[in-house]
Amino acid sequence: MAVKKENIRNFSIIAHIDHGKSTLADRLLELTQSVAIRDMTEQLLDDMDLERERGITIKAHAVKLNYKALDGNDYELNLIDTPGHVDFNYEVSRSLAACEGALLVVDASQGIEAQTLANTYLALDHDLEIVPVINKIDLPSADAERVAKEVEDVIGLDCENAPRVSAKTGINVEQVLEKIVSDIPAPLDSDDTKPLRALVFDSVYDNYKGVIVYVRVVDGKIKSGDTMRMMATGAEFTVVDVGYMRATSMESAKELTAGEVGYITASIKTVGDARVGDTVTTAEYPASEPLPGYRKVNPMVFCGVYPADGADYENLREALEKLQLNDAALSYEPETSGALGFGFRCGFLGLLHLEIIQERLEREYDLDLVTTIPSVIYKIHLTDGTVLEIDNPTKYPDPAFIDFSEEPIADAHIFAPNEYVGAIMDLCQERRGVFKDMTYVTPERVDIAYDLPLNEIIYDFFDVLKSRTKGYASFDYEIKGYTRSNLVKLDVLLNGDTIDALSFIIHSEKAYGRARKIAEKLKDNIPRQMFEIPVQIAIGGKVIARETIRAMRKDVLAKCYGGDITRKKKLLEKQKEGKKRMRHFGTVEVPQEAFMSVLKLDE
C-alpha cells in the first residue's frame, strides 16, 4: 500500500572512500528489519565481490526501508546508494538527482577528504538537504568534535546535532533514522496527475527479466501494461512489472507514483536502451520536457585488450558483450595488432573503471589478458584543417601532416595534511601540472588545485600520490577541456621490429626520460634469449633510447641429483610451460610482465 507523500524520504549516503558508507547502510537495513540478521553478510549493498574487496561501490543500488519513527508514523525511506569513485561521477550525480537529501558520512579520525567535498558539492548542486553523520567514533584515534568543527568550518553545515555514530558497533545509528525523517524533506513537489517523468538512476541487466530500470518517479504514475518511452532515445517498451527494491528481493507493486523510488522491467535487452540519466515517460500520456541533466557518458581512457591465448578471442568478445549489457559506459571495438593478434580497443570512464573491467574479465570469465598502455583521446589538427580524434597510438598520423595537437586537461584537487604539500607539488610538477590554487581546509589540511593533463593521471598517478603521502592524500578530478600540447608518438622496437602494442603518445618534453625508462624496464623484464636483442625506442625513424638484452650464456643443470631424472625433466617442462605463456615477436619471446612493467614505470 502506497504511503502518503509526506511520509516518503528519498536519500543517498555520500562519503569519502572507506569512511563507512556501506557499513552504515547495512546498519540501517538491520534497524529497519529490512533484512533478517541471519541474511546479513558484511556490506549487503555491495553485491559484487570486487566491490567488497576494494571497499568501493561500483554501481548504484537502491533499497526501500520501512520505518516507524518516534512520532508514531510509518515512513518509507528510499536509500539510494552511490558509487564512491571519481570515474563514476556522472552516476553519482544522477543518484543524487533522485533524492531530496543526503547523509554526509565523515570519518571521525580522518575528517574531510577530497571525495567528501566533491560529493558534497555535487549534492549541493542538486539542492539536497545534507545531514552530516560523524562515523567511526569507536576508533581510538577518533575525535568527533574536531571533525564536527571541520565540517562546520569547511562546508558550513551545523553539526551540533549531527549524530556521532559507529556504524561498525551500531552505537547511535537509530539517531540517523530520526534525522532522516526530521531533516530531509518529503517529495511534496511531485505530482501524480502530471504526465510521467521518471529519472533513471541505475539500470542492471538480469538474465531472466532483461534490464531492470531503477527510477525515481518525479511526476505521474506508471504501472504494468503502460507503454514506457525513453525520452533521449525514443525507444518504447511495454512495461512488464513495476515495484520496489527490498534488501534481498524485489517486491512487485500495482503502480509507482510520484515521489517514489522503484524499478521497472519491460523486457529491455541492453542497459544501453535505458541509460542512466534518461527520463522515462509513457506513450499514452507523454511529458513534453525530459528531466534536466541527461548526457551520454563517454569513455575517457582507452586501451587494447587482447587474450593471452589467441584461441580465447571469441570468449573475450562474448564476455565484453555481457559486461556491456550491464555497463553502458564500456565501449569496445575489434582491433588487430601485429604483436598481439586479434583483440579489442576498449573505452573506459577512467583507470579504475579499466581495472575493474579487466579484473572482472579475468575473474568472472576466466580469461588471461594482455592490455596495452592506456591512452586518452587526443585531438590532432592536420595541416589540411581536418581534426582527428585519436585514442589509439597506431592511428597516429605522419608527423609531417600535423599542424598541432591537443590533449585533455583535468581540474584536479588533492587533499592532504600540509606536511605533504612539497611532495604533492613535486609530483604534480613532474606530471606537467599547472598550479591553480592552494587553500587551507583546516590549519593542518590543504586543498591543492592543479590543472593536470589526463594522460599524466591515467598511468599511475594515484598510486604514486598514495605512496608519496603515506596514503594520507585524497584525489579527485574532472575533465575541463582540451589544451594545445606538443605531442609525439614513441615506438618500441625489439630486434628491429616495431611492437605496435607498445607504442604510445606522449608530451615531447617527457619523451626522452620515458624512452630511457621503458628501454631499461624491457631489458630487465625480457629474459635473455639465445641471441642478442636490441631494444630501441624511437620517434618517427629516430632512435632516442637503446638497450641491449645480451644473449643468454648460462642455463644448465650441473648435477644429476644422484639419478633423480624426474626432477630434471620437471624443471625443463616448467621452463617450457613458462615460454608458452610468452608473446612471440619474430624470434623474440616477451613475457606478459614486460608489458605490465612498461605500464607501471615508477615502481
Binding site: 639465445m530 650464456r553 642455463d555 648435477k559 639419478g563 625443463l572
Partner: protein
C-alpha cells in the same frame, strides 16, 4: 640382461655445507653401524626380488667416508657377493674425515675409485663453502689412496662460488692438475632452496651468470689442454677414466639406489626412497615416480654427453630411426654453434652445454 648400477646413499655428514641440499644428518657410531645393517638387509631383499647383476657400485652422500672404513668394506663385500659387482666401485670422501688405514681397508674390500671433494684450492673460498680440509690434507689423502693401490681418483671442484675470480679458479685448476688425477668434476654452484646460501645469496659476493659462463669455458680450455676430455657437461676425464657408474645415468641405463632419497630406474620404472631415514630403516617400500626411459628422456640425458645422441644406438634401442622433427628443432642451434650434427650423431658443443636446458627443452618438448 645388462648389468645395473648399484648406488648406496649414506645420509651422514660431520657438518652441513651451506650450499648443499642433499639428504644428510649428523649421526653417531651407533647410527652408522645400525644403518650399515639396514643397507645390507635392503641389498639382500633387492637381490632376491630382482635377481639382477650389477657391475658398478657407488657410495654417495652425505659423506660416505663418515660411515667408517669397516662399514664401507662390509657393504662392498656383500654387494660383490650378492650382485657380483666386478667393475667400478667408488666411494665419495670428505678429505677431513679420513683416518689412517682407511683407504687400505677399502682397497682390500674391492673399492677401486675414490671421489674427493676439493671444491676449491683457495683457503678463503673453501672455508666459505664449509669445507674443513686444507690443501695439504687433501694432497695427503690422494697420496694415501694411491699408496693403498687406488689410483683412479676424481676431484670435485666448484664454479661460481663466493669471492671466486678467474685467477683463483686457475689456481684451483692447477692444483688439481698437479695431483695427476685422471678425472675431475666441475659443478657450477646452484642455489638450492632451503640452503643457507639460498637464503643469504645477497650477501655472498657471487660471480654473475656471465662470469660463471666464462669461468666454465676457461676451465674447459685448461683441462682439455692438459688431456682431460669434457665428456659430460660437468665431467672431465683422461681417456678410459670416465665415471662408469655415472655414465649409466646419462646413457639412460638401469640403476638401483638404496637409502633415503636414493633414486632408482629398473624395468622402465623410476622410483625413490623418501628423504626419511626412519621410513627406510622401517623397511618401507620406495615410492613410484614415473615411467622412464622414453625417447625424450633418452635424448635429454644423452645430450649431456659430448658424444650426444648416436643415431644407430637410438634406432637399436627404440626400433625406429631418430625422428627428423628433433633435427628440425635443433637446426637453429646447430646454425649458431650450440650443437653439431654429423653423419651419425648430434651433440652439443661446450657453448651449447652452458645453455643446455633451453636447447634440450626446445628439442624434446
Amino acid at each position: 640382461m645388462k648389468d645395473i648400477g648399484l648406488y648406496i646413499h649414506v645420509p651422514f655428514c660431520v657438518s652441513k655445507c651451506p650450499y648443499c641440499d642433499f639428504y644428510s644428518m649428523r649421526g653417531d657410531e651407533c647410527d652408522f653401524d645400525d644403518y650399515t645393517m639396514c643397507v645390507l638387509e635392503s641389498m639382500q631383499d633387492w637381490e632376491q626380488k630382482l635377481g639382477r647383476k650389477a657391475n658398478t657400485l657407488y657410495f654417495g652422500g652425505g659423506t660416505p667416508s663418515v660411515l667408517g672404513a669397516d662399514n664401507l668394506a662390509l657393504i662392498t663385500e656383500r654387494a660383490k657377493k650378492l650382485f657380483t659387482v666386478d667393475d667400478e666401485i667408488t666411494v665419495e670422501c670428505n678429505p677431513s674425515t679420513i683416518e689412517n688405514g682407511f683407504f687400505q681397508t677399502l682397497h682390500d674390500a674391492g673399492v677401486n675409485r675414490i671421489s674427493l671433494g676439493v671444491q676449491s684450492a683457495v683457503d678463503d673460498e673453501r672455508k666459505r663453502l664449509g669445507r674443513k680440509a686444507d690443501r695439504k690434507t687433501i694432497l695427503k689423502c690422494i697420496d694415501d689412496a694411491r699408496k693403498s693401490g687406488i689410483n683412479n681418483i676424481t676431484l670435485d671442484v666448484m664454479l661460481g662460488v663466493p669471492n671466486q675470480t678467474f685467477d683463483s679458479l686457475k689456481s684451483t685448476i692447477d692444483y688439481c692438475i698437479d695431483t695427476g688425477v685422471p678425472h675431475i668434476s666441475a659443478y657450477m654452484l646452484k642455489l638450492e632452496e632451503g640452503t643457507y646460501f639460498y637464503k643469504n645469496s645477497e650477501k655472498l659476493n657471487l660471480p654473475d651468470e656471465d662470469t660463471v659462463a666464462d669461468m666454465y669455458s676457461l676451465l674447459g680450455d685448461i683441462l682439455e689442454k692438459n688431456g682431460y676430455r669434457n665428456y659430460e657437461i660437468s665431467n672431465f676425464a683422461k681417456p678410459g677414466f670416465e665415471g662408469k657408474h655415472n655414465l649409466k645415468y646419462w646413457n639412460c641405463e638401469e640403476y638401483l639406489g638404496i637409502g633415503p632419497s636414493a633414486h632408482s630406474f629398473i624395468d622402465g620404472k623410476r622410483f625413490f626412497y623418501p628423504r626419511d631415514i626412519l621410513s627406510f630403516k622401517n623397511g618401507d617400500e620406495p615410492i613410484f615416480d614415473c615411467d622412464g626411459g622414453d625417447e625424450e628422456e633418452y635424448i635429454m640425458l644423452r645430450l649431456r654427453l659430448i658424444d650426444g645422441v648416436n643415431f644407430d644406438e637410438f634406432e637399436k634401442r627404440f626400433n625406429k630411426p631418430f625422428d627428423k622433427g628433433y633435427l628440425e628443432k635443433a637446426q637453429p642451434f646447430i646454425k649458431d654453434g650450440y650443437a653439431v650434427l654429423d653423419e651419425n650423431s648430434m651433440h652439443l658443443t661446450r657453448k651449447g652445454f652452458l645453455v643446455s636446458n633451453t636447447i634440450i627443452s626446445e628439442i624434446i618438448l
